[in-house]
Symmetry: C2
Subunit: 246 residues, 2 copies
Amino acid sequence: MSELPSDVALMWRLREGSRRGPKPSLTVEDITRSAIELADAEGLAAVSMARVAERLGNSTMALYRHVKSKDELLVLMSDAALERPEPMPEGIDWRTALTFWAEGVMVAIRKHRWYSKLPISGPPAGPNNLAWFDAALGALQDTGLPEEAKVGVVMGLMTYVHGEIRLSLDLAAGFADNPSAFSTYGAVLARVVDSRQLPALARVLDAGVFDTVGAFDEESDEDFDFGLQLYLDGVERFIERVCQGS
Amino acid sequence: MSELPSDVALMWRLREGSRRGPKPSLTVEDITRSAIELADAEGLAAVSMARVAERLGNSTMALYRHVKSKDELLVLMSDAALERPEPMPEGIDWRTALTFWAEGVMVAIRKHRWYSKLPISGPPAGPNNLAWFDAALGALQDTGLPEEAKVGVVMGLMTYVHGEIRLSLDLAAGFADNPSAFSTYGAVLARVVDSRQLPALARVLDAGVFDTVGAFDEESDEDFDFGLQLYLDGVERFIERVCQGS
DNA sequence: GCTAAATAGCGTAGCAGGTACGCTATATGC
DNA sequence: GCATATAGCGTACCTGCTACGCTATTTAGC
């Protein structure tokens, strides 16, 4: 019966109603929602305690009655920003299900482009994060993998998916800041790459692979799907290997 | 002959020596090295322009003669912190080579635990980053994949590797901050997970998978290798498919 | 009801960090 | 030598997080 960490208690709304004192004019949910709206509109850098309070018509310090610190607020945002996953379609195989899941993650996070800039503070513990975790584990239900292997597969998948999203969002942000740095990427590399020192890269440049980077598109899921399918091919082989006896 | 971005020019040391004025008492390299040492010793949060300048026996504002902004300094750090990759052993197959490469990345980044907290500002453009990129492309030399496919494979691999490292370092940092939050992770989940709402996760808990999370170890490469091998299995299948004619 | 205790909101202030600006000293090109 | 470009730096401004203490408000316990 140890104490739960305060952020976990807040995310699961476990504070028991204490009675005495004035009625709160704010709730943690209001604060979190307001911070998320602000981040959506102006980016994570615009989220300061002062700006959030201003939006709510309160003073900066009022927030600290509901939230221990700004870091705690960021943790709350990171769970609240993810909506619940859509329920999986019935009767699909694990591979279709994980692809469906991965695209759901991508769609959910793309609604909040600051998401992947949040610091990771610990393993997933909020209700929405755990719901996504559960959904991915559920997709592996019929594979016969042992539970521990399912966790390994899902953790690797999460790492890949979050990493890919982070990369594409950060590149998109960089592109928005400074489009010319991208359209000239091929040219910059050509200026700087010595084919004696970086021969493999020079071959790629010669093949013109980076000449079209100017056509950079945040919404392009090509790279995302490509890497995802590679990983899932690996999972397929792993399942065959582990479950060959059954 | 357009201008190179100033951070790229700095990383490749392309500033041409201009003559007039006092001799600089500082170089960009000094500043970068000093910032890296400070981050190694006290974390990225300790890296302020003031602290870096103090280490160098200069005033804060002196740094701005060499570096446009703190963000630019971070970009310089992100390239300088990676050493050059060790040369690949001769005569190994692509899979051994990429595993060797991935472990090299992990070792290199683990020397600078703040690395994965850096914001991503654009595609790799510094000499060290490009050297690593080249090394991974070189590992696929004999596969017969077209250049564009190599790039896709390597990008996916980088995403996975960096993501996994980021996750493990951030979790390790969280663990150092607050070990009890980790040793009680299983217990927290048990308190909070309802087996009706999150059935797959509940099964994992029942199987006791999270009971040993207390034995959290930053150095454990198990998860890293597991996911890596899954991905490489996928690459293997991809190569077979694409190159079946040859 | 009445009182004591707990609590919400908030004003103030301290501290840290990034950086614009302008001054001074110094080295070089002409 | 003199004009000019540049290195270093002191000052000052702004933004951001948050500790502290005051006041007003509500309720538990009597």
